[in-house]
Each structure stands twice: as structure tokens, then as C-alpha cells.
């Protein structure tokens, strides 16, 4: 079964060239170029209304692009209707046919292409998703997680070159979602088909995908491997949307070796030149909350570290770690996640502290953009 699937997956590149979509005066997707290599697990990540689902639907053929072309496995499919494209979709809320039983739902695609011997294939597929004994049930008699697996089976049985997933886990509870993420990842590795996955859940995208395209306002903000996006965000939107970031406004004052020297309200900081793509004079210095060490103001700190003084405003204990909010001497709030290993009992709200981190863990970006983009508090 899986060998068969693997053979059919040959040449499953998806190439989008200048593809865009407008509805009257509203631009849902600005013309974009995107290449999804064959066999990869690709995620389109963004908040609702960012154009990620529209992009997916243009690949499926359910939405007609206003401009550009869609090429799948070397074949230009832009003008083809959905039923003639070598792709299958797992829909949000699954869209299982309520009048057909599970067996017939899964057999639907095979039957439409005139296959006669569907029984064996459908049974094998139902075994793969561990739903063999439910073949004669109707969709509404299954739980959300089971329905989700039927939706995946119904799509995969057709050996598509590309499997499109439109927020397939959105309707599941947290625990089941984590389980299905691993399950989907396992199936993808097993069958080797190109997966294009649309989600608004950054953790889900990072867990599953090889490559993530972060979308915002109908544009791709940044494209890369999860770790790369996390460590080197190219914009404040990516920095805030993918995990949490502390962004500190600073002026570039000079350079020293491989570092840029900065001044933030009189405090001297450093950032590696390689992690600061902009040539601007005013920049945001970014640092992830878990990279910062928090210490009592009286503690010794090595001289080569970035250092900020401040006062603890809030602390919340969440088991594996404690999350602090610290107001720096310059008046900015900084989040710090500290592993619960050797806690200093003096670090309580109101206590004077010093925050320090390795300069190599900082990144810099042009300050000529909204500092709160992608936080959910920003207007758009």
C-alpha cells in the first residue's frame, strides 16, 4: 500500500508563479511565487484572513486565481477544474458525505475514476487509519478524531501528487490535536507525498512542517525551516507571531568584531552583524524570553553579556518554568521564561533584578515597522 503511494508521488512539486486573487477591490492574495518541493511537508501559517486558505484553494482548483499559474509536477493545471487535478483536499470540518457510509466515503474518488476493484484498497486504507471496524457506520456516528482520519483516508487513497490540508485539526480538542499532528506527520513520512498544510496554530506548523511560509495580509512574510524562522525572524510580525519575542528599541552606535554595538536608553548592548540584516540606524533588538537569564540585582554578571536592569512586575509559576514580566529601567516590559531549577527566592514582584543573555542569541531588525505586528493586539 505505502509502496504504491510512494511510486505515485513522483514529481509532486507545486510551483506557484505570480499567483494572486482579488475580490472586487479587496486583494485576498497579492501575486506571490512559491515552490513546494516534492515530498516535503509544507505549512502555510497565518492569522485568519491572511490569504492562506485562498492560496490552498487555488492549488486545489476550487478558487480561480486572478493572476499567475499553478504548476503541479511539471504540468500547468491553472485552467483545469478541480476534478482533473492530481491533488486531494482534507477539508476544514472534513466535509464527509453524510448520506454515504465510511466505506463509500473512502471509495468515492476511486469509483469516480471508474475503478472496479475498490474493496481491497478501501479496506487497506481503513486499516492504515485504524478504522477497519467502522466501514459501515455513517460519518455522524464517529467522533471528531475518527472523522478526521476518514477525511485523510478518503483523500490519500487516490494517491494524489499533493495532499492539501485546510486547518484539518481545528475542530479537535488540544490533546487529540497533538496526537493527530504526530499521526499526520507519520503518514506523510510513510507515504512520501507532498503535504501542503494550512494552519493558524504556530506550534502545529513548527511541529509538523519541514518548511513554513508565514503569511500576513495576503503576502508571504518569510519562508524557511521552523528553527530558522524562530531564530532569525525577518520582520516583527514573524518575531511576534511565531512564539514570543522581546523587542527593544536601540540605536546603532558602532561595530566591534562580528558584533554591532547598540545603545538602548544609555545601556550598551550588542547583536551579531550576521543576525541583523538591516542597515538602519534605529533598530529593534530582539531576544526570545527563554534565552534570558534573570538574576537578583546584587548578582555578578560576566562582562561579555547583554545586560538590562529592571524590576519584577509579575511572576507566574506554570510548572516546568516560571514566567516573569520585568519592567526595565528604560520603562519597557520584558518577558522572561526561567526553568525551575535553581530558583532564587529573592526574585519576587517588586524585587530589583538584572536580565542578561548571550549577545549571539539576539537578532536585529529595522525599527521602521510596527513593533506589535502579529501579537494579536495589533490592529491588523
Amino acid at each position: 500500500m505505502t509502496d504504491q503511494l510512494r511510486d505515485s508521488a513522483a514529481g509532486g512539486d507545486v510551483r506557484l508563479t505570480g499567483i494572486g486573487k482579488t475580490y472586487g477591490a479587496f486583494t485576498a492574495v497579492h501575486p506571490l511565487d512559491l515552490t513546494v518541493p516534492q515530498g516535503s511537508f509544507f505549512a502555510l501559517l497565518g492569522a485568519s484572513g491572511c490569504g492562506k486558505t485562498t492560496t490552498l484553494r487555488m492549488i486545489a482548483g476550487l478558487e480561480e486565481p486572478t493572476s499567475g499559474t499553478v504548476v503541479i509536477g511539471g504540468q500547468d493545471v491553472t485552467a483545469l477544474p478541480p476534478y482533473r487535478r492530481p491533488v486531494n483536499t482534507v477539508f476544514q470540518s472534513y466535509a464527509l458525505f453524510p448520506h454515504l457510509d465510511i466505506f463509500e466515503n473512502v471509495a468515492f474518488g476511486l469509483r469516480r475514476r471508474g475503478r472496479k476493484d475498490v474493496k481491497k484498497q478501501v479496506e487497506d486504507m481503513l486499516e492504515l487509519v485504524e478504522l477497519g471496524q467502522f466501514a459501515r457506520r455513517k460519518p455522524h456516528q464517529l467522533s471528531g478524531g475518527q472523522q478526521q482520519r476518514v477525511a485523510v483516508a478518503r483523500a490519500l487513497i487516490n494517491h494524489p501528487q499533493v495532499l492539501l490540508l485546510d486547518e484539518p485539526l481545528g475542530a479537535l480538542d488540544l490533546k487529540l490535536r497533538r496526537q493527530m499532528q504526530l499521526e499526520l506527520k507519520r503518514i506523510q513520512t510513510e507515504v512520501g507525498i507532498t503535504f501542503v498544510h494550512v494552519t493558524h496554530d504556530q506550534e502545529e506548523a513548527m511541529t509538523m512542517a519541514d518548511t513554513i511560509a508565514v503569511m500576513n495580509g495576503g503576502r508571504v512574510e518569510q519562508l524557511g525551516a521552523p528553527a530558522d524562522l524562530y531564530e532569525n525572524p525577518a520582520s516583527t510580525f514573524v518575531a511576534n507571531f511565531l512564539g514570543q519575542s522581546n523587542l527593544i528599541t536601540a540605536q546603532v552606535t558602532g561595530a566591534e568584531g562580528t558584533d554591532l554595538l547598540l545603545s538602548a536608553g544609555g545601556v550598551r548592548l550588542a547583536v551579531p552583524k550576521a543576525r541583523c540584516a538591516t542597515g538602519a540606524k534605529e533598530i529593534y533588538l530582539g531576544v526570545r524570553p527563554e534565552k534570558i537569564t534573570i538574576a537578583h540585582a546584587s548578582a555578578e554578571v560576566a562582562g561579555n553579556r547583554n545586560r538590562l536592569g529592571g524590576t519584577v512586575v509579575d511572576s507566574s509559576f506554570i510548572g516546568v518554568s516560571t514566567q516573569y514580566v520585568v519592567r526595565t529601567d528604560a520603562g519597557q516590559e520584558v518577558a522572561v521564561f526561567e526553568q525551575n531549577m535553581e530558583r532564587d527566592a529573592r526574585i519576587v514582584p517588586g524585587a530589583p533584578v538584572v536580565l542578561h543573555w548571550n549577545p549571539a542569541h539576539s537578532f536585529g531588525m529595522d525599527a521602521a515597522q510596527a513593533i506589535d505586528a502579529g501579537t494579536g493586539e495589533a490592529a491588523a
Binding site: Y83, S93, P98, H99, N158
Partner: protein
């Protein structure tokens, strides 16, 4: 004392249900009882003696079975015509935006809202002016017209509540537009279409006013026959037909429910 109140309170809904049912069914039971009567004189209003004469010889009354057959023919054809046309209208109204859509939507309701006698008279005038001879065809046209509203209403409600993603999923799974319609859209709309068809049949079979204004001298439907007969005394056979129709309708409804429940339980 308080126990009696508790009992009443917990059984009030059942009691109300039984009373309502009795109110609805009692007339039918009287019709059933009098279908076994052997009346003295012309009128079948007083019980005299038990007899199965009417049941063993249902067509024993002159012209009655011809009128019944005519009514059934009209009802079947009107149902087919109204269901096909009405389903198409319903899909057009539910799925597409076009010029005149609002007007069509409003006009569809008109036959349900307008007094039947007004519609009957205007239709009659129309046929007369167009020099279309009254007869089977005029009855059929009139019946399809007023059944259409009910089919459109029933099917439209169903189509509006359908998830458009189901059809997209079908297309995504290699179904051509025609296959999508036959394999997904139509089965999903079927309950609405069936409801519309059943309503059409019942309405057409039993219509008197519109038929009276638009029928010819030789086209006497069953309701018209009963009306005519009532002047001279309704034959017992009319009770037989009435009872048979009632039983058929009940069997159809109960059968449908049972089938639905069984499908749910098995599936």
C-alpha cells in the same frame, strides 16, 4: 391530593397529545364506520345495519371509479411536473444571483397566499381568452401551477441548509459536475424533494375549487364527483375510497418514519 396533582402535572403533555389526536382522527373513524353501513334511503347519515357490500363492490356506483382514475392521473402527472420544475426553480433561487430573483421569490409564494377562488376564476378567464378548451390539460396546468409553490418552498429550505463544501469535496475527488449533482447534491436534497412531491400529490388529488373552474364537461375529478353526489346523497363507496386513502396515507407516513429510524439505527 398532592399526589394527584403530581400525576396530572407529569402526564399533562401526553393527555393533550391524545386529545389532539382524537380531534384529528375521530372524523376519519366515523367515515370508516359508515363505510360498513347499509343505509336506508339515499342518505348515509344514520346507522342502520352492518354490511360489506360497499367494500366488495367499490366501483358499483356509476362514474365514480372513472373520476377516481382521472384524479389519480392528474395527481401523478401534476406531482411529476411540479416536482421537476419546482426543484429546478429552488436550486436557481438558492444558488444563483440573477435579475428578477427577488420578484420570482415573491411570486412563488403568491399561490399559497392568494384565495383559491380568485386564482381559480382568473385562470379560467385566462384559458377562455386564450381559447384553450377546458379539459384534462387545463386542469393539469392549473394543478402544476399551485403545487409548484410548495415544492419550491420545501426544496429551497433544504438546499439552503446544505454545506457547499460537500460539493467541493466531491469535485476534489474527481466527480464531474454531473456526477457531483447525481451522487451528492441530489441525494442530499432528496428529503426536501420527497416532501414537496408528497404535498403536491395530496393537494392535487383533493383540489376542488380550482378544478371546478378549469375542467371541461367530461373531466369530472373525484372531488367534483363527491360534490355532485352530495346533492343526491353520497354513496357508501365514497366512504370506502376515503378510508382507503386515509389508510394509505397513514401507512406511507409510518413506513417512512420506520425506514428512517431503521436506517439511523443500522448505519
Amino acid at each position: 391530593m398532592s399526589r394527584i396533582f403530581t400525576w396530572i402535572r407529569s402526564h399533562l403533555v401526553v393527555l393533550a397529545g391524545v386529545l389532539a389526536l382524537a380531534y384529528l382522527v375521530l372524523p376519519n373513524l366515523v367515515v370508516l364506520a359508515f363505510s360498513f353501513n347499509k343505509p336506508q334511503g339515499k342518505f348515509n347519515y344514520e346507522w342502520s345495519e352492518f354490511s360489506t357490500d360497499a367494500w366488495t363492490n367499490p366501483c358499483g356506483v356509476a362514474d365514480m371509479c372513472q373520476s377516481l382514475s382521472l384524479s389519480l392521473q392528474v395527481a401523478v402527472l401534476a406531482t411529476i411536473g411540479a416536482t421537476v420544475l419546482g426543484t429546478m426553480v429552488a436550486f436557481a433561487l438558492a444558488r444563483y444571483r440573477f435579475r428578477g430573483r427577488g420578484a420570482t421569490s415573491a411570486m412563488i409564494f403568491l399561490p399559497m397566499a392568494m384565495p383559491e377562488v380568485v386564482m381559480a376564476a382568473s385562470l379560467g378567464t385566462l384559458f377562455l381568452n386564450m381559447r384553450i378548451p377546458f379539459g384534462f390539460v387545463t386542469i393539469l396546468i392549473a394543478h402544476i401551477m399551485f403545487c409548484l409553490s410548495f415544492v419550491v418552498t420545501a426544496v429551497k429550505a433544504r438546499v439552503m441548509s446544505m454545506d457547499p463544501r460537500l460539493e467541493q469535496a466531491a469535485q476534489d475527488l474527481y466527480a464531474t459536475p454531473v456526477q457531483t449533482f447525481l451522487r451528492v447534491t441530489l441525494p442530499l436534497a432528496a428529503p426536501g424533494i420527497a416532501a414537496g412531491a408528497l404535498l403536491s400529490f395530496a393537494l392535487s388529488f383533493d383540489d376542488f375549487i380550482i378544478t371546478q373552474f378549469n375542467s371541461g364537461p367530461t373531466t369530472v375529478t373525484f372531488p367534483m364527483f363527491v360534490w355532485g353526489a352530495s346533492q343526491r346523497g353520497i354513496p357508501v363507496q365514497v366512504n370506502v375510497i376515503g378510508t382507503a386513502m386515509f389508510i394509505a396515507a397513514v401507512a406511507l407516513t409510518v413506513g417512512g418514519q420506520w425506514l428512517g429510524n431503521r436506517r439511523k439505527a443500522v448505519a
